[in-house]
């Protein structure tokens, strides 16, 4: 089989690292070779963050280059747009419709782009979800990452039980119930259509 590539993008502090760990654990449970690349440190402080996850029989590079991602899992709308050049033609884009203004927008030096969802739709097969609301429904706004993992899980051939097992292995036991609920909400979510603006 050829190597599969997922890019997880978001804003530092949104919990993208945990999402990539759950994904990594489920992929090993399926017997794949897996490589995950993260960036720690300064960019984690509210900046754009990117995690690459690649799997297959044998994976060489841990990084996804321009045009190399089969799937982009985006925790924030503008970050989804920023990741677009990395998506393969016709690739899948799973996006949280949450908007977080970057500092240039807060300062009035730039505009948060309008009509992003339709722009994304021109280049990718988009599934949009209000993961923040679903996470709150599960019990905590912090579970956005697990809602999105649920959404991603649905697009794969990997059995749901394997995902749930990986979830149990990755999150602390005292938060497992909330996270299971968040996963469930993401997994069973019906895609939203339309434009945000």
């Amino acid at each position: 089989m050829s190597t599969n590539s997922i890019m997880i993008v978001g804003v530092g502090g949104q919990g993208t690292l945990l999402a990539s760990r759950i994904l990594g654990n489920v992929l090993i449970s399926q017997g794949y070779d897996v490589k995950i690349s993260e960036v720690h440190g300064m960019s984690q402080r509210g900046g754009s963050v990117v995690t690459y996850v690649r799997w297959g029989e044998e994976v060489s590079a841990p990084i996804v280059d321009i045009g190399g991602a089969d799937t982009v899992l985006a925790f924030e709308l503008l970050e989804a747009r920023r990741a677009l050049p990395y998506l393969k033609e016709g690739g899948k884009l799973l996006v949280n419709t949450q908007q977080i203004d970057p500092m240039p927008v807060i300062m009035g030096k730039a505009e948060y782009p309008e009509g992003l969802l339709s722009k994304l739709g021109e280049h990718a097969e988009v599934t949009a979800v209000d993961a923040l609301s679903l996470a709150r429904k599960a019990g905590t706004a912090k579970a956005v990452n697990v809602v999105l993992i649920g959404l991603l899980a649905k697009t794969t051939d990997i059995p749901r039980e394997s995902w749930e097992q990986a979830l149990a292995e990755t999150v602390p036991p005292k938060f497992l119930e909330i996270n299971k609920k968040a996963f469930q909400l993401g997994y069973t979510h019906q895609a939203e259509g339309g434009d945000l603006t």
Binding site: D33, V34, M42, G47, P62, R82, P104, M107
Partner: protein, 579 residues
Amino acid sequence: MKKLLLGNAAVARGAYEAGARFVSSYPGTPSTEITEECVKFPEIWCEWAPNEKVACEASIGAAIAGTRALTCCKHVGLNVMADPVFTASYTGVNAGLVIAVADDPGMHSSQNEQDSRHYAKAAKLPMLEPSDSGECRDFTVLAYELSERFDTPVFLRLTTRVAHSQSLVELKEPAEPVKKPYVKDPAKYVMVPANAVKRHVVVEDRTAALAAYAEETPLNRVENNGSKTGVIAAGITWDYAKEALGDSADYLKLGMVYPLPEKKILDFCAAHETVYVLEELDPFIEEFCKAAGAKVIGKEAFSLLGEYTVNGIRSVVTGEAPEAPAVENGGIPVRPPVMCPGCPHRGTFFVLKKLGLTVAGDIGCYTLGAAPPLASIDTTVCMGASVSAAHGMIKALGPEAAKKTVSVIGDSTFIHSGITGLINTVYNKGAGTVIILDNSITGMTGHQDNPTTGRTIRGEATKQVDLAALCKAVGVDDVQVADPFDVKAFEQAVRRAAENPEVSVVIAQRPCALLKGVKYTGRARITDRCRTCGLCLKAGCPAIAVKDGKPVVDPAQCNGCGLCVNICPFGAIEKEEEA
């Protein structure tokens, strides 16, 4: 058992399996997790040292005393560590000593892009460079064997993409901890000139022996696919080359980047029509090849700047232009890192910006005070440089500058190397104000304890440096403690300190908002008393943005710290407790 491990965690695993039992480091991205992962093995003595030099010296001591030791740092940390490293090359070790250094091509979290391989050559120490987590473990284990076999400290070089990538590692049973007898041997360990003259001979002989080892070790291996194109690579560029070129090229993979195997390289080059050297940062391998008379292509086709990419390598080697992306990113607003909501530094920089002071900055989360809208930092060079640079600025600009110049430095950075700068300022009759940003933790590298927190790396209670008493002890008479979220009182404290013609210290005390014990409640809300003066926006809080001409709080971002409530001159911002 196979496990998905971060490169850094795999280095820790390797040290554990090799029986290392002493680890001393100072945190530095992208090396920090090596030491943090060692903590997970209760058998290993782990510690955060105040700086890299101390960490390395402690590790040298442990190795001389007969216990395998590890010290870890980022590339710029190796500069701080360099003094003991160069002489430990002469003393050699008893039990093995590994120095793990992580470079940061692309400067994801660093102030420069230096290439640590030059240190291996300069200090005449062998350096291994793994390509993935499996090799991180294997090479660490091997590094201890080499350290003892050749009686030398061994460098293990990582780069960000190896240190912070996870891949599968086959876990092995740990070896019995190495305990070598300590034997007093001043001719070997006391580096006075008479002894060092003799030890230098040993160092040169050792380097020759290591060069011979480099020719035979499987660390440096040829992968033959019958191609006319050859690639010489080490570390992450080998992974990239394999991804880009697959079986269409032959490879000389170098696991040991110093000393380099001259004959192996010349043979490989002679067997191929075209040979590319793929290495990020400096042409370290390339220059060696060219000096040895090999014809290779290196930096004439690749950049000295930043990271290499799979597409970039493919396009140079195959001559095919990379496919243009279907969509461009021009015009999209950038998202630079910012201080977190609730960050104590925000209050400090809000005041410094307001007072229009010249600010000598330092290394930590608070370096983000250089970014707009706070944009208050004038200089950032290296750990500790704020205090000493401010002293130099004031001496150069004259006494009036003392009233307008402050330095800002975190608690951990102050202990790392700010205290020596402060002693210098006091001793040399300097002036100005040092603001110690005491947020009760080492922040940017991800929450490490330090001598000012009162806890060890394992979270045990220990003696705590009293920052105020320390400053007084070195001769600062004017030491104030102030809360940067009490904006008015903090401003007064800074004004008063700046007016003092002698050196003064303000300790800005408030814990990092991400610390477990810090619990803010509720959310800020901007009421209709708002006169849209925009002052709250000048604090650069990611939770306050303008919607339809008015500032509003994003409840998903706000953590209820209340700084904006204190900033608003019209009392228009209120705290709303959650239902």
